[in-house]
Symmetry: C2
Subunit: 296 residues, 2 copies
């Protein structure tokens, strides 16, 4: 797929912010039923896919938004992942899972694998999954094993885009590096195993580095030469295009810039009935901002 | 409830290890269907509840084991949480969630709240949830807000019980403390807000400290005077009773010791048809080990 820029649209749908036309019938005095809300999230998300797929190669789906509606929400999430992959998009499951031993293996099976159950029908899982690295290398290994087996990828949290992430992630170690840099080093080591590194020179183990922390990006880029950086926080969270050059290598590869709310809720600013048109325009504009930043 | 010791049984059911009688009908050449497997996990877990409830006040349910079977698994998980609470047990949802902003709020709603959807029927959520603290205080706050509102609790990962947890958690900061101690300090600060501290002097924000890291426990106990420690890794993972005294304060409060596989799979060692009897004996023995360790 050639869309012109390494961009990703984050799908974080919140029921109360969906276009009114999609909520009709699901709203009641007590709020929506779980199944109706999950259906509305799925319908909206599929509409977003159709609006953005000509402009972006990749989407990231926020699991929390769906889990909020319990098992009907989880069913909608898996259906959305499958539908997005059917449409040829690269799909990142944003579930930020992390556990040890066999529990990590279960999360890998449930959140990353292509599901293989006769009763649920044939489905595709996401191409990649976000994970939490705090528990250490042996807790990441079950995810790596499944990713290697199924040709998938991982993005481990290194530097998150929230203001409070400084408390722990910016704490200084006795060697002068920050905790985020120590996490980066751990991932760089773990991801350097030859079986994980593709022809491109990048490892299947990537890293999440928030767009709102421009001062940290260059050092993290250097610490993780084989990691693709997934960079959330562009747009609504305040990340700016000019700050993002440091995410990329000199050859302009190595990062995927993500915008979520600024794209999927673009219709809140434009008004009018054509919510998909507003989402499409915002996706196109986002793609062009990143492409122009990357132009020599 | 008076059961004689601050113990918790971890329910981490793995389909392939369930008693054969519970797998009958669900096994096929291609492995079980997701719904059949989820039903078997639920049936087994309810059997464990009935076997242990006279001996332990608290259970911890591993979400990963259920998520492995997608939405049918998630439905079984929520039903199990509800049934365990109906039986008067204290229920910890072991989901280790962590995200920022509104996504954290969605996880709190989906994983900690008492579900309130007309179409799913009235349900009880867990009394407490495990969370990941790497993202920082503002990412924990949405969980705290919901826990405060609903009178529930949280256990944030500080020192995990896996061997590889040393890589990041034991890294030394420039003030001589470890990363785990910095996480502990962050939680102690965050949990000290008066609205979070109960009459007992303990905060609703607790911490997970693995039983397999006895050398670290005393310092973490000191760093978190208001945190109840949830201590997994007793039994199958190698944690020993004598090492665990340091988890408690001089008044013998402040920690909950957790055993999982050594209790719920006890029938694998004893053989015979009475799997629930084996689980009950193991729970009783576990409880007595901890009670005897705590005796003056």
């Amino acid at each position: 797929m050639q869309t012109g820029a390494p961009v990703c649209v984050g799908i974080d749908p919140v029921y109360e912010r969906l276009p009114r036309s999609l909520r009709a019938g699901a709203d009641s005095a007590d709020g929506p039923d779980a199944r109706d809300a999950a259906d509305a999230l799925l319908k909206f998300s599929l509409g977003v896919l159709d609006a953005v797929r000509e402009h972006v190669p990749c989407i990231k789906i926020q699991s929390a938004c769906f889990e909020r509606y319990l098992w009907p929400g989880v069913e909608a999430y898996h259906k959305l992942v499958h539908e997005a992959r059917q449409r040829g998009l690269i799909v990142i499951g944003d579930a930020k899972r992390g556990d040890i031993g066999i529990s990590a293996a279960h999360y890998a099976a449930g959140c990353l694998a292509d599901p293989a159950f006769a009763d649920l029908g044939t489905m595709l899982g996401p191409d990649a999954l976000t994970i939490n690295a705090y528990l250490g290398p042996d807790a990441i290994k079950p995810f790596i094993d499944l990713a290697t087996e199924q040709g998938k990828g991982l993005f481990a949290l290194v530097r998150t885009s929230n203001p409070g992430s400084d408390t722990l992630q910016s704490a200084k170690l006795d060697d002068g590096q920050t905790v985020a840099q120590a996490t980066a080093r751990m991932l760089a080591d773990l991801g350097a195993a030859p079986r994980l590194v593709g022809r491109s020179g990048y490892s299947l183990l990537g890293a999440v580095v928030g767009a709102t922390k421009p001062d940290d990006i260059a050092a993290l880029r250097d610490a993780m030469p084989q990691q693709i950086l997934l960079v959330p926080g562009f747009g609504a969270q305040g990340g700016q295009a000019q700050d993002l050059k440091a995410c990329f290598k000199p050859d302009r590869t190595g990062a995927v810039i993500t915008a979520s709310r600024s794209v999927i809720y673009a219709y809140e600013k434009t008004g009018g009935d054509n919510w998909q048109g507003a989402v499409e325009s915002a996706a196109k504009q986002f793609k062009e901002q990143v492409a122009s930043m990357l132009r020599p």
